[in-house]
Symmetry: D2
Subunit: 394 residues, 4 copies
């Protein structure tokens, strides 16, 4: 594969902080302004080149990406200038949205049709037009939209592929916008990545559909800051037989993602994906595991995560660790998004459909094929990923 190959990436939430950062990065690479520093798989051969990616997508906010990037305050002055022209040329398509599922996300760039089947048709026609206009070789869909409220997974609408089809016909309120995008992607044969904590493709109905159609899907909830650190530290505590008696985590963030999480319904989706990580790694239930996420404007996109860890060691003696991670939320996320796109394209090339378990490395709540508990330890996930990559090269 070469740099002229056309790998389409249709992003839900195209005007968001993570999306604009990912797009700006690739546009700067195309211009030769930046290299592949900060990209975890830059050294891996055989994947489509970063510069082969072409971006488009939907957002409830219709601003072009230059304007959006300006607002997010992630890129610096010089970077906005460098990527500005390319970004200004990208305008989000009208989006499918539902305030029932995401209260704080607001915008006017909306698809006017209410019926679910019509909404799907709209998304499908966007994808086809994108494919045609850019003569794309492959097309992936990535969910980077604001976090949606968690649905009731036991409803028949979400329990089977068949139930989902009937629910679409019936305009069933159980179906979220995120599921419509996922459904459209899968039926169009486009690999689908869910970087958000929303249910989206991660419901039995859509996983079944992806399996049937042989379309790769990956999710859910990008593992970037505090949770990534947990999956690095907890295995070491286990290894050294240091018992975790409590782990208190608080996050302060001031970007739009943080504003959305001020809605308790969206927040609980987020916290759910953060939750079981520790117990799964440690092999016992941590008696006190508290996770807080607070919107705090001055922090902007520079999310800060403060952790206090209470450990019990030999002879029952107690220790404490404090970790303060002053991260750039979108800067951590964007390279993972780019790698995920390259990897689901590769999975499709290999003919591997359904939930891509080998991509657990990228997610807080990795999807498993059989619903079993996923591996969470970062280094083990990396091993699985590297093995899968190597297997393809062989």
């Amino acid at each position: 594969m070469d740099g002229t190959a056309r790998t389409g990436v249709a992003i839900v939430g195209l005007g968001g902080a993570v999306a604009t950062t990912a797009v700006a990065g690739v546009e700067m690479m195309k211009l030769g302004g930046v290299g592949t520093e900060g990209l975890p798989l830059a050294d891996v051969g055989g994947l489509v080149p970063y510069t082969s990616l072409v971006f488009a997508g939907w957002d409830v906010n219709g601003d072009d990406l230059a304007k959006a990037a300006e607002g997010h305050g992630v890129l610096d002055h010089r970077q906005i200038e460098a990527a500005g022209q390319a970004l200004a040329g990208i305008e989000p398509w009208p989006a499918v949205a539902d305030p029932e599922y995401c209260r704080n996300a607001r915008g006017t760039n909306l698809v006017a049709v209410p019926a679910l089947r019509d909404r799907v048709a709209h998304i499908v026609s966007d994808l086809r037009r994108f494919r045609r206009d850019h003569d794309l070789e492959t097309l992936t869909v990535v969910n980077l939209a604001s976090t949606e409220r968690w649905p009731d997974l036991t409803l028949p609408a979400l329990a089977s592929a068949e139930g989902f089809e009937s629910a679409l016909d019936a305009d069933d309120a159980a179906i979220t916008p995120g599921m419509l995008y996922a459904y459209a992607a899968i039926t169009e044969g486009a690999p689908y990545v869910n970087f958000t904590p929303s249910a989206s493709a991660d419901v039995p109905a859509l996983l079944e559909l992806a399996e049937q159609r042989g379309v790769p899907v990956a999710g859910k909830d990008g593992k970037t800051g505090q949770t990534m650190m947990k999956t690095v530290l907890a295995p070491a505590f286990r290894s050294r037989a240091l018992t975790v008696d409590g782990w208190y985590s608080t996050n302060i963030l001031g970007n739009r993602d943080g504003e959305v999480l001020d809605d308790p319904a969206s927040l609980s989706s987020k916290i759910a994906t953060k939750g079981s990580v520790l117990d799964d790694i440690l092999g016992y239930e941590v008696p006190d595991h508290v996770v807080r996420i607070d919107y705090y404007r001055p922090r902007g996109d520079e999310k800060e995560a403060w952790d206090n860890i209470d450990l019990v060691g030999f002879l029952g003696q107690r220790m404490q660790i404090k970790v303060d991670f002053m991260a750039r939320d979108s800067v951590l996320a964007a390279p993972l998004v780019l790698e995920l796109v390259r990897l689901v394209v590769e999975a499709q090339r290999r003919g591997e459909g359904g939930a891509q378990e080998q991509l657990g490395y990228f997610f807080k709540a990795p999807t498993t094929r059989d619903g079993s508990r996923p591996e969470h330890a970062l280094y083990r996930q990396e091993q699985v990923l590297r093995d899968w990559i190597a297997a393809g090269a062989a």
Copy 2:
């Protein structure tokens, strides 16, 4: 093997904080007061049981271990009471020492003979008496003495086994007390563990000797607090392509170990073993890696390590992590010492002599057979160790 088997452990620095904590732990296990919580390999079969260990050793300070433990302030009130009687019955043998190599360690419980060969003979007779008196099945020697000044490794005395023998005859000042204990252990066929940053057995001459005699040796410098954390975090940063632009580490500790490190000569041995870990893991030279160790009395044995890490991510954007580890220094060290004893006994059982590379998991500066750079990433070291253990069981 059963609990009645007699595994002798002769400790250099028997009255120190780490040694008394390790001994107290085993004595409490023997009394049934504590279980095997906090011991990393408690789940591994086939190693000698913790309760088979019998302790003795040398210290320049002649206080019995109950009195020593009282002074260290590591064990709590209740634990001192529980282990008190057993500890009171253990008195360190007179030690071989040299103020040239460790200025701040002071004491009067000293072997009066100055000639090196006589000193070795003294140590050897201690070991034989210990073996005899307790009818030991196996005997190991563990170095837990205060850190010595770093010697000049290029001197002929330290370069070959032959050179070392001549140097012993000549009372060569290049030979440190730590080396005498190691030499005695090796010539007596006793596996030797160097938990300190002192050179000790970790010089070409003694490694050659251990190889010749088929005696397992392991070292050096137990990996407990800040450095352990580095070998957990750095692999993750590398994995996520986060470049470490600087890492500032400061340690404050107020135990006797800290006092000794107030001597710049001892300190530089310690800092040397902490040094190259990062670069080796990351695969590039960290431009600013600063390590400070300061004696600070109020902290006592509750060492505190504060780290600031400067990271550069995607698009050159900067992030910071602060880690504050409020550890119990000796509580982290003691279980590692107990596991090391069990593992070198196992190596001897398997007939594996010389530097035990599979034990790198326990050390800041793991000895390698051929002097090549060791693996430092904790999870990879653990894999190597677990594989070695499994290989023996098979």
Copy 3:
């Protein structure tokens, strides 16, 4: 005044962590085991001596104070032993309580009478008996009970002394248990200290009554940890023209006080008293001031408060300060309680009744006579207090 003088202190919440710590401290002073270290006004002449204090009081939990102290884990082994006998001799009287106002506080040591007037009579008879039995010279009442839900201050019952009397007759649900104790104290002429964030005497009705009767009252909510630090740091930021753009505060605590604050109603009383401190000191509204209190068991009484402060300096440049205060909650509180008792006794001696504004130094939400905004800067409060003390000496 001398040490044999009898200053009675009747504590609401006598079995609580703060109360037992205060009582234990005085009992140890009486035994000569500890001096006056840690007591802010130990150097001030003219106040009743600490050792003149005699303690009694109410608690919904009937355990004697030795047993209570055991449970709180504030005093160390040695201290429990030293004060044990004295503490074992103190048993709380049955208490007046109401789950409507404090859900999480549970116990069986309760006054069985439901009518408000009968409850007041019960409290009054306790006070009189205490006075008589110990031949007390003076008697004060201190509220150290669990935090109650905040009442509606606009209700007629709380708006005037007259309204309050009618409400008592009518068993009006607007009256909290905390108010009954305060009412009883005031009508008995006993100075009253409210160390809790509960409304208690800090309602117009009872302040009016205290004024009428010439009884000193002081409150509210002891200023010990994070808020004290705020009233130390904020004046400095103002002085140096560093604008506070945001202040994020989180508290984790695992004592019973923390459990009670897990009830959102009690929590909101607590957060209310913490709230306005910053704006009042700085002279502008801090755009983002977030305060969190979380129950987190492993912390026990060793409350931890983590603060992130965002500052804007010269030329609009941004700075950050992080403060991590690992306090002993009750150890900070107990000496303030002892000083407050001595100071309200002094106020009564001087014939000064009503709200004691000069005691703002001790409180998060100092009561003012005219409802005006109180001074919050610690050093200014200290000046006011020292001036008042000096004025009495003159």
Copy 4:
């Protein structure tokens, strides 16, 4: 006084980070781009306006201030642009320097004459030309040069004004460059501010001279970050009877100031001025007060100061506070420099010569007239300053 009045400010170290930040700020004010935010005395009437200040001065580095500012990385992109033209017009005069007293400061913009009297003459002629060219009403000199090694204050050269004159004649090596600038300023009747930890005017000889000539002098070592925090926190600990058992302070900074402090001689001057602050405020000697300053490049001008404070409270119970101050070193310093200039001009207007004790608020090691221990508590210093200001207005 009005904005057109001409207040000359001749800065030693004009191209440094603090100096360029101060100059840029005033130039932006003149252009109307920024207001007086961040200036502690912006609300005080009667002082010369900020915009009346005209800057010039010396630096061993001859770059104009635009280029210098570019290098320091203190001002942001937008600010460099705004102030650029004004800054580009300011070029440092050749400086008087001596590698014996400041090893790491290097440059080629040097006064070639070696004799001390000639050097003084050179500085004096610079000052006269500056006064003339700008038709200055008043002229002050501010020391913002790199920290010099500490001199031997007991030498006759530094002990009296007379001794100093003889030493000048004799080209005595006891006299530092910093003293030459101070001497020139005083003899020219120009108020002199020493913002650095160098001895400079703060030697008996020059204080005597300033007194004789009635010229105000102020110093020494601007109190900006960690030390300022100490003088805010320590009075509160004292007030609350919390005993400071230890205080560990480490500083990491990566600007040129930090590089200079990598020279142990310069460093010890800096640490000396930081030292006694705590003990003076607390009234007892803190058993363990450790101060570290480390050069750490990634931090740049964003100095980071981490403090660990060990406290002992009521009943001997222990607590800890950690403070992490991520400051902008020059941003904290520049406004203090501007206020100091306005205040020494005011002192001169009032005819007050010699050491200006009322300016202790600005300094780590405030000069006192009689060599007595200065007041260090920030709030008391502020009171003294505000009283002095008010006295002048009256």
